[in-house]
Each structure stands twice: as structure tokens, then as C-alpha cells.
């Protein structure tokens, strides 16, 4: 096997090379060639990751490939170093694996866009940044990737830059992420102050010296969580994610569903050793995730844009993951990240296929009956929907069930709320499915199935969504949770998980939630499968529904609370404080000098005799003083 020292830097280097080459040659390279090159390089990165995975010995601990010292001041040594361990390998495989499929899909999806090369360069750059994020051997390298994916996300959301709304969405995403980053940066500064280093291995080792609930650790974890809130779109910073759907659909699939938004989860799992020692933060994480999951689910029910529905489901699922982390079930959280990457990428790509088939139409009220026109898309989409609803034996069932079981152990009412969320998820996802693929077509376009280059990734993802559960098959089904044991070698928090529910209880919990989900599917089928009329606009809905459809007025609230006051502040600071106070202050200094000059120039009478007298007087004074001094 090739050594990890050589292979590990190669993984991010390949997409970076792709980004640079395509960007440099984007005028000479045809869009198609750029797509192939980008896909091949990501595929290469995936192969490298697989090789690394095969050559990785979990018992041997983390392997660190140190390139060079990045920042070196006084006793601060931050290396540009990559860490290969169970956690980063898992994420690398997801990022490059799903990334390859989405690149492949994009070749078809973007084939008639004039700026195809730019798109692929950015997509490669994103993958590079995401790989830095997950492979970093210290917080700083992770932060490089963290900001890098933010930038790529900005550029890709605003990819069609002639539309001001898209640009606004892109800016909103970047700024909201930045708000989170403030927390992240400060968290890093605190980590450095407390531990004297940012290296993961050292920090996690030294974490043991702290007592549970140590204020320093609580502060660190809270600050890191603020960063995670921004990136992973949790309350109160989630409103950027639905708007981010302005970008091309593959972007939504790769960045805003499968990989980037899970960076927050990754960060928390990475720092699990700190989080298990900060129960206060864990509670905060738990409740934030819970509220976000429910809030986003309620909003999702009333969305009519195919991508918006998926976006809210993403926010909601991310909430589930945070709940898992808050419960201390790190492996369950990451397991859900993995399965979610499969089925959410699948759903987004399926949605993209639908949009492609309808020539850009995104409103589900003007779809319907696409089952026959786009059979491949329909079948794979159905698999994805079933997976997200958690139907046995699809992957979503296992990952969601793991979280629910942990929730029940922590507190039945949390379990109850999560099941309610799952029911809502099932409801709006099947509403989506039925409105799009069932009934009769309500639009004007001529639907056609997407080319093979797009459907092939769909099928691959569908298969993964079905069998993904095997990655962490619980004991109940004869498995022995391989993923959990694998991750336990990298994230010490995973080793502390314990689930001690009786088999009977577990069976009944599963049965209960599955029954509710099936019931919901039946209701949804009854309401939407044969619907011929359009749903009313949000404003026409009765009160509680209208509020939910309006995203609980969060955007309006932020606008009133932050955007408008900030604009007002900016204008008035400039107009009032600066113009009325600061400027006159400075002018006053100049003015005083001028007034003194005005007074002094009167001395210049122009009369030579006066000057003579003055001269003599000066002479006298001088002589007098000199003589007195003698």
C-alpha cells in the first residue's frame, strides 16, 4: 500500500489541481471536457480515499501528514497538516464519493450553460475546501476549509449572477455563515489559550485533564457550536439555506444537502471529547436541534417550490443530527449524516432531473403525473422518499431509529417530539412525491426523461440509500454496528455512548414510529395523489398555516431586527455623527489655525517705518534679555 503520508495530501490536491487547470484554461476547454476532467479528478480523489481506507488500520490511531508550518509565531505552531483517521476517512469517502456522482450528473445538467467550465472549476474548488475541512489535523486547517466552502457556496449560489435575488441569497448565505464564524474564530482562540495548541490529537488528549462542566470547555464548545449553527443552518441562522436553493440544483445537492451543511456535525463529532465534558453545551445543542427540526418541518409542509421543500427537510434532518449529538450519540449523528448524504443527494438530483425535464419549472403545483414521463427519476425519487421517511429496511430507517432510541432513553417527550417531526417529514415528502409524479400533468412543458449521465448517478445513489443501513447495522438486526466501532477509534466521545434499552422496548418503539409513518403516507396519498386543483397561495391560508408557510416570519423578523436597523445605523452614523460631529471637529482644528493666521497677518501693515520700529524694539528686547542673562 502507498503510505498515507503521500496519499493523504493527494486527495485534496487533485480537486485543487482541477479547479486551477479548469479556471486557467476555461477559454480553451470545452464545457464538456471541463466536466469530464473535473469528474475524473474527483474520481481520482475518491480512489485515493478508498486506497487510504483499505490501508488504514483503525487500531493504529490517526496518521498525520504534516506538510509545513503554516503560522509560526512565538509558541504558536500551526501546521498545514492532514489527519487520516476513522472520522476523516468516513467524511472523505462521503465527500468524494457523492461528489463524483454529482459531478457526473452535472455534466448532463449543465450541458447547455455557457459558463460550464467556471461551474466545474468552482465545484472542484468546493470539493478541495471540503476535503481540507474534514482532513485537517488541527482546527485551523479545518477553518481554512470551513471558510473555503463558504466562499464556494457564495459563488455557486450566485452562479447565475444576473438575477439580483440570487445575488442577495448568496450574500445572505455568506454573511450568516460569517456570523457563525465569529463564534468559531473565538472558539479557536480560546482552544489555543486553554490547550496551547490547535492539533486535534493533543487537544483531545489534554481534554481528559478537565473536570466535567469546566467553564473553559463549556465556553469552547458553545463558541464552536455557534460556528456550527451558521454552517449547518440551525436556528436562529437557518434562513439562508432555503434561499441558497437559488444555485444550480447539483450545487444544492452537493453543498447544501450532502456535504457542506454537515460540516457543523463533523466539527462537533471531531470535538466530541470536549463536548462530553460540557453537559450544558450538550443541552443547548439538543434543544437547538430539536426546535430547528420541528420548526423547519412545519414550514416544509406548506412549501410549493420543489427545492424549497427539500431544503427545509434538510434543515429538519440537520436538526435531528444535532439532537443526536446533544444526546451524546455521536456515531448515530454521523451515521445519519452518511445516509442523509445518500438519500438527500438522491432527492435533490431527482428534483434536478424533474426541473430539467420540465425546462426549469420548480413549482410543484404545475407538475404532476411525471411517473410515466420520467420513469427512472420516479423510481429513484421514490426510493429516496421512502428512505427519508424511515421505512424498513432502507438506510434512513436505521439511522433515524438510532437517534429515536437514544432520545427515548434521554426522555420520552423528546422522543415524542422527534416522532412528530418524522411524521411531518413523511407528510410533506409524500405530498411532494404525489404532487410531482402522481395525478395528471398540470403544466405546459413537454416532460422528457433526463439522459443517462444524469440517471446513472441517481441509480447509484438509490442503491446506496437502500443498502446504506448496513454500514451501522444494529445488534437487533444481527449486525454489530461496524461504523460505531470504526468511529470510536477516532472520536473518543463515541466510545462513551451507551444504549441500554430492552429489545422488546426497541421493537415496540420501531413499530410505533413505522406505524405512524405508514399512516401518514396513507393520509398523504389520499389528499394529494389525485389532486387536480392547485394549492392556494400562502397568503390565502388560515392563520396558523399561513404563519408556517411564511417561515414563521423569521425573514421579516430579521429584516426588522437587523437589516433595517443596520442600514439605518449605517446611514445615520454617516449622516449625523460623521457629518455633524466628527467632520466639524476636524474642520475646527483647521479653522482655528486659519483664524490665528487671520489675526497675525494684521501685523503685516506694509508700512516700512513700522517694520523699522518693530525691528529696533526687537533688537532692544534681545539686547536687554541677553545682558540680563549675562
Amino acid at each position: 500500500m502507498v503510505s498515507a503520508q503521500l496519499l493523504a495530501p493527494l486527495v485534496p490536491a487533485l480537486p485543487l489541481a482541477g479547479a486551477v487547470i479548469i479556471a486557467a484554461l476555461r477559454r480553451r476547454l470545452s464545457g464538456h471536457a471541463a466536466g469530464l476532467l473535473a469528474t475524473a479528478l474527483i474520481g481520482g480523489a475518491f480512489l485515493c480515499s478508498v486506497l487510504l481506507f483499505l490501508g488504514f488500520d483503525p487500531a493504529g490511531g490517526a496518521q498525520v501528514a504534516h506538510l509545513f508550518d503554516w503560522i509560526r509565531v512565538a509558541d504558536m505552531r500551526i501546521g498545514l497538516a492532514f489527519q487520516v483517521d476513522a472520522l476523516s476517512l468516513t467524511m472523505m469517502l462521503i465527500v468524494t464519493g457523492v461528489g463524483t456522482l454529482i459531478h457526473l450528473y452535472s455534466i448532463g445538467y449543465m450541458h447547455d450553460d455557457p459558463r460550464q467550465s467556471t461551474f466545474f472549476a468552482l465545484l472542484n474548488l468546493f470539493t478541495f475546501a471540503m476535503l481540507l475541512l474534514v482532513m485537517g489535523a488541527n482546527y485551523a486547517v479545518t477553518f481554512i476549509g470551513w471558510e473555503g466552502v463558504g466562499l464556494c457556496s457564495y459563488l455557486l449560489i450566485g452562479f447565475w449572477y444576473t438575477n439580483p435575488a440570487y445575488n442577495y441569497a448568496a450574500r445572505k448565505a455568506f454573511v450568516m455563515n460569517r456570523i457563525g464564524d465569529v463564534g468559531f474564530v473565538l472558539g479557536l482562540a480560546l482552544v489555543f489559550q486553554v490547550f496551547g495548541t490547535l492539533d486535534y490529537t493533543t487537544v483531545m488528549e489534554r481534554a481528559d485533564t478537565f473536570a466535567t462542566g469546566a467553564p473553559a470547555l463549556t465556553a469552547i464548545t458553545l463558541l464552536l457550536f455557534v460556528g456550527a449553527i451558521g454552517k449547518s443552518a440551525q436556528l436562529p441562522l437557518f434562513t439562508w439555506l432555503p434561499d441558497a436553493m437559488a444555485g444550480p440544483t447539483p450545487v444544492s445537492a452537493l453543498i447544501h444537502a450532502a456535504t457542506m451543511v454537515t460540516a457543523g456535525i463533523f466539527l462537533l463529532v471531531r470535538s466530541s471529547a470536549l463536548f462530553v465534558l460540557a453537559p450544558l453545551t450538550q443541552d443547548v445543542v439538543l434543544y437547538t436541534g430539536l426546535v430547528t427540526a420541528l420548526c423547519a418541518a412545519t414550514i416544509g409542509v406548506f412549501q410549493n417550490d420543489i427545492k424549497k421543500v427539500l431544503a427545509y427537510s434538510t434543515v429538519s434532518q440537520l436538526g435531528y443530527m444535532f439532537v443526536a449529538l446533544g444526546l451524546g450519540a455521536f456515531s448515530a449523528g454521523l451515521f445519519h449524516v452518511t445516509t442523509h448524504a445518500f438519500f438527500k443527494a438522491l432527492l435533490f438530483l431527482g428534483a434536478g432531473s424533474v426541473i430539467h425535464a420540465l425546462g426549469g419549472e420548480q413549482d410543484i403545483r404545475r407538475m404532476g403525473g411525471l411517473r410515466s414521463a420520467t420513469p427512472s427519476t420516479y423510481r429513484t425519487f421514490l426510493v429516496g422518499t421512502l428512505a427519508i421517511a424511515g421505512i424498513f429496511p432502507l438506510s434512513g430507517f436505521f439511522s433515524k431509529d438510532a437517534i429515536l432510541a437514544h432520545a427515548y432513553q434521554y426522555g420520552p417527550w423528546i422522543y415524542a417530539l422527534l416522532v412528530a417531526g418524522a411524521v411531518l417529514t413523511t407528510y410533506y415528502m409524500f405530498r411532494l412525491l404525489f404532487l410531482v409524479f402522481f395525478g395528471s400533468y398540470r403544466g405546459q412543458a413537454h416532460p422528457h426523461e433526463s439522459p443517462a449521465v444524469m440517471t446513472a448517478p441517481l441509480w447509484v445513489l438509490a442503491v446506496l440509500s437502500v443498502v446504506g443501513g448496513a454500514l451501522n447495522l444494529p445488534h437487533l438486526f444481527g449486525g454489530h454496528e461496524p461504523m460505531k466501532h470504526f468511529l470510536a477509534t477516532a472520536a473518543s466521545g463515541v466510545g462513551l455512548e451507551h444504549l441500554h434499552l430492552s429489545a422488546l422496548l426497541e421493537w415496540s418503539l420501531m413499530g410505533f414510529s413505522t406505524a405512524l409513518v405508514l399512516l401518514t403516507i396513507w393520509i398523504a396519498y389520499g389528499r394529494f395523489a389525485k389532486q387536480a386543483t392547485l394549492d392556494p397561495e400562502a397568503d390565502a391560508l388560515p392563520v396558523p398555516q399561513r404563519w408556517a408557510a411564511r417561515k414563521w416570519y423569521l425573514d421579516e423578523l430579521y429584516e426588522r431586527l437587523f437589516e433595517k436597523p443596520y442600514g439605518w445605523l449605517s446611514t445615520n452614523l454617516s449622516a449625523l455623527l460623521e457629518q455633524r460631529v466628527m467632520q466639524p471637529l476636524m474642520v475646527g482644528v483647521g479653522g482655528t489655525a486659519e483664524r490665528i493666521g487671520e489675526l497675525l497677518r494684521r501685523v503685516q501693515t506694509g508700512n516700512l517705518s513700522t517694520y523699522l520700529f518693530a525691528m529696533v524694539a526687537g533688537l532692544l528686547l534681545f539686547l536687554f534679555l541677553t545682558l540680563n542673562g549675562l
Partner: protein, 482 residues
Amino acid sequence: MLLAALLLLPFATATLLLVARPEAQARMLAMASTLVTAVVVLLLWAGYPGTAVTVVDRDWAPAIGLRLVLGYDGIALLMLVLTGLIFPFIIGAGFKQQLDRPATVNALLLYAQSFLFGVFAAQNAFLFYIFYELALVPVFFLLLFWGGEHRRTITVRFFLYTLLGGLSLLFGLAWCVLQTPAPYSADFTALHALRLGTDVQLWLFWALFLAFAIKLPIFPFHSWQPDTYTMAPLQGTMVLGGVMLKMGLYGILRFVMPIVPEGVLFWRDLVIWLSIGGALYAGAIAFRQREFKRLVAWSSLSHVGLLCAGLFAWNSYGVSGALYQALAHAVLLVGLLYIVGAVTARTGTGDLGAMGGLKLRTPRLAALFMLVLVNAVALPLTQSFVGEWLMFNGLWQHNGWMAFAAACTIVLGAIYMLWAYQRVMLGPDSGRPAVADADRDDHLYLVPLIAISLVLGVYPGPVLDLLEAPVQQMLNTLTALN
């Protein structure tokens, strides 16, 4: 000898330009001169032995302690390198700007360069002061004769204001020199050896600091800056913001911190809060500026506030960060201003409200702007991030709330920079007649700048190593105090 060449070459070229007035070849001559100085400054760096170097040491006016002492340590060398590397770009901007009487313009710029080298190489307080004020003279004429609207009023106002600071500095320095043992000496070594009483240090701090606070400028001494930056010709703004304000930073390090350490200890919290407050204030105001160049001016003010705060955190991270950021800020500001020039030349207006959709016509320029912009918002792997990260750490070590307030500037920075980018480049086609995309010259100019910011962002080691020893040495003063 190399150091002497640094001072004399620009001076000689400038004099030649002024006397012979070869208008047609002026830009090329000036460019050649600055390129040679850039090489010389790099040679100087390559030959740096790692400890302070004194090159010239002789009496000039011993009665007042004025001596001709030239030399450099790591910090001064960084400033020399900064001046040497940035000036080719400042001269280069003139090829597109095409001011009239290019011989005079370039001569003034080269004079400024020569004097700036003097400022950073002087090892004697009065010598420093002479160069410090001399450097202002060419800029004054540049602003007065080639400035924009209201140039006379604004220039005079700026000049008076800075001179006021200079006067206070002169007074402070003279006072300090009189405290040295007879025969008086204004050498840095003599001044740094002073141990003044605490009550004296409390007021002397402001006498010394005021000049640099105005020069930088930090809140609330900043009012001259937006007007001046906006009105000045592009190259003038580049000199002012790219290099001259670093004199303020350098002065604080050379005078304020070593001479009045107790004064710094007493006032630093106030100064840091003023700086950070100013940074936030400027960041907030920048957001609603209607003029592109004024927005850049306010953004510079915001960056500089942070820089000053980092300096006064007074630990190795803060000081190194501030110094590193000084270099980054120069590269950034020159790049941004060049973009302003390029955009204004293409749209014929500096009004952000009247722009938009430029990217449709000029995708390459937009890409270059974006690459400059990532440095402006301090994304990692750019120079600015290294500086800001170190400053945040430095501030954090001093006071967490300060670090928090300082870190908020990254949000404000993202807000106004992206807004500017959107206003200029993005959006629907504004129906403007065809404008040319970035041409070979634009690439020749911006690509090296971007390369510097990226290379030094990925591998800042050489610069940080350069600073290590002198910063540590300076901070030992503080350790000795506590």
C-alpha cells in the same frame, strides 16, 4: 551600501525627472527605478543577518542630539520591503491613470518613496521626524495639483491636521531628548534606555501617540481620511493608504511602546476600544457609501482600526499580527484601488448606484476583483487572514470581549465588500455600451498582487520569522515592567 542605494536611487531619479522632464519616458523611468529598488530591498532581506544592522553612524547636529544613524532590524526591514515592493505597483497604476505632467507626478512619487525609506531606516528620533514630515511634502503637492473636487480645502485641512499631530510628536520627542544624559542624544538606543516617571508617561503617551493616531488614523482622529482618500488621485491614495499610514504603526512601535511603556499600560484599554469601535464604526458606514472609492476608504479605516487594536494587545500574537497585517493591508488596498480605477474608467462613474452588470462584459476583471476581495474579507490562505487571526488571538489573550468585538468586523467586512462586489459586477445588464475586459496590463498589474497575497497567505513563515526576534525583544520591556 544597499540601504544608501534605497534612499538615493529614488531621490536621484526623481531629481532627474524634475530637471529633465522627459514627459514621454517618465513612467518607464520611474518604473525602472522602483523595480531596481524592489530588487535591492529583496537583496537587503536576503542578506539580513538576523540581528539589528547599523549602516551609517555619524554626527550631524550633535547639539540637539540629531545624528545621522541609518540601520534596520526585522521590523524596519519589513517596512522597507513593504515600501520597496508596493511602489512598483503605485507607479504602475500611473500607466492607466494618465495624469498630466507625468514627469512631475512620478518625481513626487519617487521623492515620497525615498523619504519613506528614510523614515524606516532612521535610527535617530529627529532624523525619523525629518523624514516623517518630508514624506508628506510630495504627497501634498500631488493632492493639491492632481486631486479631485474641493482639492484645495481638503488638502489643506489634511495637511494642517497631520501637521498638528507632527507638532505634538516633535514636542514629545524634544522633551524626551532633553531627558537623556548629556550630551543629548536622540538615538533610538538612548531614548529606549530612558526610564521616565509614571506621571510623566501618562501625558507623554498622548504627545507621542497623537501624531500616529492621526496618521493611521484611528477613531476619533479619522475625519480627514475618507475625504482625502476619495479626493486624492489614485496613486496618491495608494501612497497614503498603502505605505504612509504604516509610518504611524511603525512610529507607535518605535516610540510609544518602548519610551512610555507605563503610559501604554495605562491607556491601552481605551486605545483598543477606540480602535475597535472605530473599526466597527467604519465598517458600518462603509456599507452605505454611494461612491466606490469612498467605500474603499472606509474599509481601509476599518482594517486600520483592527490593526491598531492588535498592536496594543501588546503580546507577540497581536504585534506580529498587526505588522503582518500592515503588509497585507498595503497589498490589499493597492489592489482594491486599482480595481476602483479600472471600474471607474470603464463605467465613467464612481457612483455605486449607477453601476451593475459589469461582469457580463468583463468576466476577467470580475474574477480578478473576486480574488482581491477574498483577501479583503480575510478568507484563510490569504495574507489578511494570517494577520487577523494573530490579532484576534492577541486580543483574546488580553480580553475576550475585545476579541469578540474585533471579530465582529469580519461580518461587517463581508457585508460591505460583497455588497460593493454585487453593486459593481453582478446584476442584470445595465445596457452600457461595450466596455473592454481586463487587458494584458491589468493582468500584469493585478496578478502579481494577488500572487503575493496568496503565497504569503499560504506560507507566511519568512515574514513571521523576520518579526520574531525584534517583537520578542520589544515585548521584554513589558515583561520587565510587570
